[in-house]
Structures are given as structure tokens and as C-alpha cells.
Point group: C2
Chain length 395, copies 2
């Protein structure tokens, strides 16, 4: 059979911008035929987002590889009819309109399962399809704020801090992909379709984990702790001679070699630091010893010392440095791409490494409507019919 | 058939602590029978991590609901033989030892597919099973530093900042679950097993997305930008009278109502702010107008004004506030649990809402070895044999 696990699975992707498109890209990497349905004016709005290069958005390129694109005016009756024809050929439909909009456009689950009873449909939104905030506008940082994540990110005494990448979008996109995969397994076993509702705020709240139990069981409100951890110390950011690095111990056994590594073997039995509990409690007393040592060495020197003792170490790499790192290269996490008008560029590889059915980048990002001929032709529409639909503003 | 999509799928889970156990919990929520294999001394080390409550770790409770637990000494020959018997009854094996350890313990993929040819095996590690850093120690913040994520999280002029929750662990755990689901789909279609290799650093690097293209195409090294966004302004954190909040515009159409909302309609056509590009460029000039306005109102007052204009708003909630939020409650994202010796507590709910086969919390966290009788009994071992194995330190 096929060498990609989702070969033959057709996904009609009505979603735009970030969030859901990240999930559908992951499914596309593993063989799903993802057909991006774009409006007939500007298409996916992320095609216009800054930063631009040669007049085109670099953001669109992040999350639309391996996808096909058709244009379709969902607000026209003929457009809707064409969508229903497409849905009849599909396994999955994805959308991330604001809750309520899909129903107005005639592409909600109730309508689409009338068109194809075993369809799987997945919706992604900021707060979910139900509840008092269902209709509220939301972007990634809104979800970070509403979930409690932003409050616990940052340094004590400093401001709440957003994640450096849009986790509200991407984590929800990943849960969307996970939900679709559960539904596909169920469909393979029973032939039944179903509806999936994923919210950005729910998704981030799910990953708070320890903070929720800490609040409910200990009555403690989780606060910002910088780069530290509640459970272990040393585990922190330090300034080396040439930049920041993370030094860590996690197991209790790491402490003796750590104290030796920083030339302070006498700290091992110091009653302030002799147990992990004491080190966590007295982190502010311990950290200056480490900082004072770290400042005397470059990150490469520290790395050598720490690797020799099998202690955890990482320099805080810039994105550019991470891209050039031999490990990143070895893992094929940077891939070369090309897009007409943009020339060559690099994007992230595939993090799920499957031995028998590995994901594969089979094509770059599509131009808007690039696959109209192929996809609508596959529905039996002739070239003349497509021209007529184009003139009428349907596609 | 079953009402949970992964019913009948047995997962032998050799993983400990964070990372992989988050992924196997998600699979367990959707019906997989996850059997946690714990060592015969302390079990999963996260059972001992602070913070403690009544002498037990609250961290273990985060990610082990819906799982069964057996004890097994993998370093004994009899223990290994018992593992192989278990693997013969399983669909999936999961491990997150440091690369190389599984082979030493006789539970690497090559060995286990000799035991069961169609087994799916998934490994999670800090840097992956291959490459120059494969064997390096890694925890979540190490992966955040090595992936470039930490460098871009925080405020300009401030220090690189760790995420408030351990995304290195949880995002990798989610990719592990995703990989297992691809492999299950392939197994359902072909009967074939395979091996899955997921790394924390790869997983986070995958989500950097825009930064990678920005560096390769524009030659710009992504830097820390606080709670802002490269593509749109206003989209930032502000101080209201009673705390922080996020105010956002994302579409170009939001700007006029936003300027009206803050009582500054004259800014709409101000040449410094008239287009999104100008607002992004002059964000430092625009933000004081918003800040000055926000300080005069409470977050509830701002919320009313913004919701009326359908603009994006969220207060920066503490974890406790997020837990009490009516939307969180409505979405059943906080669930009540109980654990012997800990009493009642609350933990995160299930963010993937499936209409026909919803996830379900069927049981709480297991005690170490709680299911020895059930699982080993299922292999045909008698009560006397189990007692003997216990005396010999095998289970």
C-alpha cells in the first residue's frame, strides 16, 4: 500500500491564517490531500501579512506546504453548491471561522453531514463553539492571557510575557490534528463520522497541568519564576562570558558532579544546599556561586565541562544559530524550499520521525487557486464551465 | 462498537516523568489501555518530585490519569521475559530513556519487533535518537534554549525567558501521540508496525515557523518583542486600573473601532498610524495613547467596551482565575479527581471535544503496581507466582 499513512484522505480546509492551518499542514506532511479553499478576493489573509518579501507575506509560507489551493466564493449559491460537491469527495472538513459564521455560510456540521453522512468535521476557535465567550474574538495572545499561561511566563517582579511563538495557535492546531486522527481511527473501524470542537484557550489551559493542581491542592497561586523550576535546583539561566546558557540538574544524583563542575565541591554538603529541597528553597543563595563561575568561561568551554560529567547544558541559541546547529541539520529540521517570486528559502522540517511511513515534503506552498483545474476538473467540470464560473466570481 | 476511539489499543508505557507521559495520557483519555511500567524501587521518579502534599508529589497526578500501573525490574532476566510477554499482548510501546539505554535494557525496537513483528514503538528524547547530540541530557528548558524558542521569548532589553509551562515536554509529548496515531492508522490499513523517534528540540523548533523563514529570506535574526506581534498593531499588553490585559486588532478593519473605543478617533487618519504597516512601525508612539486610556478603566469596564465593538480582549488571568472563569467551567476544562492520601483535587480536562467518541476520565492516577494482579494475571500468572516474583524483586 501507500508509503504515507494518510494517503487517500481528502481534507477540505476552509481555515485561514494561523491555528488550524498548522494542524492541517502536519496532516498534509503525512500524506493527507489538503485542499485549501480560499476566497476569490485576497485569498487566505495571511498571504498579505507583514513581514513581506517581494510584496508577498513570508508568514503564509510557514504553514501551507504540501497543500493544494482552490478559490471559491462561499457567499454565492453556486459557490456553496460546488463546496457540497467537494465535500462529497472528502473525508474531513476543517474550519476556523468565528463561531456562528459557518452556519451562516451553510457549511456547518449539521448541513455538511446532510451532504455526506460520514463526514468528519473539525472546528477551531478562540474560546470554543459553546459557552458565554463562544463568539468572542481571539488571537493567540488572547488565549495565552485567558488560559493563565501568560501570567506564569516571565520573571518575578516583571510583566506577564507572551510566548515567543504563537502557542495559542500552534498547540490548538496540534490538538485539532490529534482530534481528526482519533476520528479517522474511529471511521476506519466503524464507518462513522463526527464533529470536533477545539479551542485555543482550552488547549493552552490543558498544558498548564501542575499549576492547576498546585492551586487546588496547595491553595498556591502559581507565579512567574523566570527560567527556574519548582521541583529542582540548579536549573536556571546563567550568563557565560559570551552569552546566556541553561544549566540544569534534574535528578538528585546530578548535584555532586554539578558542584564539582563549578569548582565548589564544598557546597555538596553545605546544609543550605545538601538536599534538592534545600537547594530549591535557597536558590537565590546558590545561584550567585554558579553565576560567578559561569561568567569566567565561554559557552563552548562550559559545554565541554558539562558534557564530560553528563550534565544538562544548552546555550540559549538564536533562531539563526539553532538553524545552523549540527544537530538541527542532522535531524533534517531545516528544509530548503522555493516559491515563485520569493526565490529559495528555508522552513521547519518534520518533527515526527516515522521509520516506515515518514512524512515528506512533496510540494511547496500553492498559489491562490493553483489547483482549480485539477480539483474542479475532478468533479467533472469542463474548461468552459470553469471559465464561466470564474467570470461569474464563483471561483 | 466502542464509544472511545482507541478502545482495545494496548500501550506498554515505559516512560517516566514529563514529556512522553503527557502524550500517553492524551491517548488514554481517548480509550487506549495505557499500562505504566514502573521500577520496583521508587517507581516513576515524578512520584517524588516537589511540591509534595501529604508526602506525595502533586506532579505525578498531572499526567497519569486513566493509566494502569505495574511494577517490573527491567534489569533482571525474569523481568525482561515478563516485558516480552506483555509486548506480545500490546499494540504500542513507549519509552523516553536517554538514547542507548533501551538497547542496554533489551527493550529497543530491534529487540521488541523480534518479539512482536507488528509492534509500534515510540521513543521520546531531548535531541533525538541520532546525531552528534543524541546522547546529551535534556530537560524542557534545555530544549527551549537549543531550539531558539527561549531567545525570542521575553522583552526587548530583558533576559531570554522560559515558557511558564514545560512546552519542551508537552509539545514533544503531543507529537509523540500524533506519531503513534499515524502509525495506528497505517497499522489498521496494512497490519504493519514501525518505529517513531520524537525529540523535544525538534518539536519546539518546528513551531518556531515564522522566525526560520524570517532569518533565511530576510536575513533578520528574530529577537524578543514582549507581547507584540510583527504583523499587526495594536496587539499588546496594557495596564488597566486593576491589572494587566491584552488588547488586540488583527484585521485591518479593527483599527477604526479600536481608535473609537479608546476615545481617539482622530488617530484613525493620523499619518503615523493610518495603515497597519505604519502602526507596526510606530508602535512605540501609539502604545502610550492606549496605555493612558487603559489606566483609567478596570478590566471589566474595558471588556464591556471591547466586546460591544467586537474587538479582541482578555484580562491576563492567574491560573486560579482561569480555573474559575465561566468559560473554562462551561467547557469542562477543570475536572474533580481524588487520590488516596491526597483527598480531592482538580486537574485539567480534555481539550479535544469529539461529538461521537468524546474522551473520558474513567479512573484517577494509579498507585505504583496497583494493576499487577490484573495485568500479570491476564498473562496467566497465578497469585503464587506473583508472590514469588515479588519476593525475588522482579515485580
Amino acid at each position: 500500500m501507500s508509503d504515507l499513512p494518510l494517503n487517500g484522505i481528502r481534507v477540505i480546509d476552509l481555515s485561514t491564517a494561523y491555528s488550524a492551518p498548522i494542524g492541517t499542514m502536519q496532516l498534509a506532511d503525512f500524506g493527507a490531500e489538503v485542499i485549501k479553499v480560499e476566497n476569490t478576493s485576497i485569498g487566505d489573509p495571511s498571504r498579505t501579512w507583514s513581514p513581506l518579501h517581494n510584496g508577498q507575506s513570508i508568514q503564509f509560507l510557514n504553514m501551507n506546504r504540501n497543500k493544494k489551493s482552490v478559490t471559491l466564493n462561499l457567499k454565492s449559491e453556486q459557490g456553496r453548491a460546488l463546496l457540497y460537491q467537494l465535500v462529497q469527495t472528502a473525508d474531513v472538513v476543517v474550519e476556523n471561522f468565528r463561531p456562528g459564521v459557518a452556519k451562516r455560510l451553510g457549511c456547518d456540521y449539521e448541513t455538511l453531514r446532510g451532504v455526506k453522512p460520514d463526514i468528519i468535521m473539525a472546528s477551531l476557535s478562540g474560546f470554543g463553539q459553546t459557552g458565554p465567550k463562544a463568539g468572542n474574538a481571539a488571537y493567540s495572545n488572547i488565549a495565552e492571557a485567558a488560559s493563565g499561561l501568560m501570567h506564569v511566563t516571565g520573571y518575578p517582579g516583571g510583566k506577564p510575557t507572551a510566548s515567543g511563538v504563537a502557542f495559542g495557535d500552534s498547540v490548538a492546531g496540534m490538538f485539532l490534528a490529534q482530534g481528526i486522527l482519533y476520528a479517522l481511527v474511529h471511521h476506519l473501524r466503524t464507518g462513522e463520522g463526527q464533529y470536533i470542537d477545539v479551542a485555543m484557550t482550552d488547549s493552552l489551559f490543558h498544558l498548564i497541568m501542575q499549576g492547576v493542581i498546585q492551586k487546588s491542592l496547595l491553595g498556591e497561586e502559581p507565579e512567574r519564576i523566570g527560567c527556574r523550576d519548582l521541583s529542582a535546583y540548579p536549573y536556571d539561566i546563567f550568563s557565560a562570558k559570551d552569552g546566556y546558557c541553561i544549566l540544569g540538574t534534574s535528578t538528585v544524583n546530578d548535584w555532586t558532579p554539578f558542584a564539582q563542575a563549578i569548582g565548589r565541591p564544598e557546597l555538596v554538603d553545605d546544609p543550605r544546599f545538601d538536599t534538592n529541597e534545600h537547594r530549591v528553597l535557597n536558590a537565590d543563595l546558590l545561584s550567585p556561586y554558579i553565576e560567578e563561575w559561569a561568567r569566567r568561561y565561554t559557552r563552548a568551554e562550559i559545554q565541554r565541562i558539562f558534557e564530560e560529567k553528563k550534565l544538562a547544558f544548552a546555550p540559549v541559541l538564536t533562531v539563526g544559530e539553532a538553524m545552523e546547529d549540527p544537530q538541527t541539520r542532522h535531524r533534517e529540521m531545516v528544509v530548503d524550499m522555493e516559491y515563485q517570486g520569493m526565490g529559495r528559502y528555508q522552513m521547519q522540517g518534520i518533527p515526527v520521525k516515522l521509520s516506515k511511513t515518514p512524512g515528506r515534503i512533496r510540494m511547496g506552498c500553492p498559489h491562490r487557486g493553483e489547483h482549480n483545474g485539477e480539483i474542479y476538473g475532478g468533479l467533472g467540470l469542463s474548461g468552459e464551465e470553469l471559465s464561466a464560473l470564474r467570470r461569474q466570481g464563483v471561483i
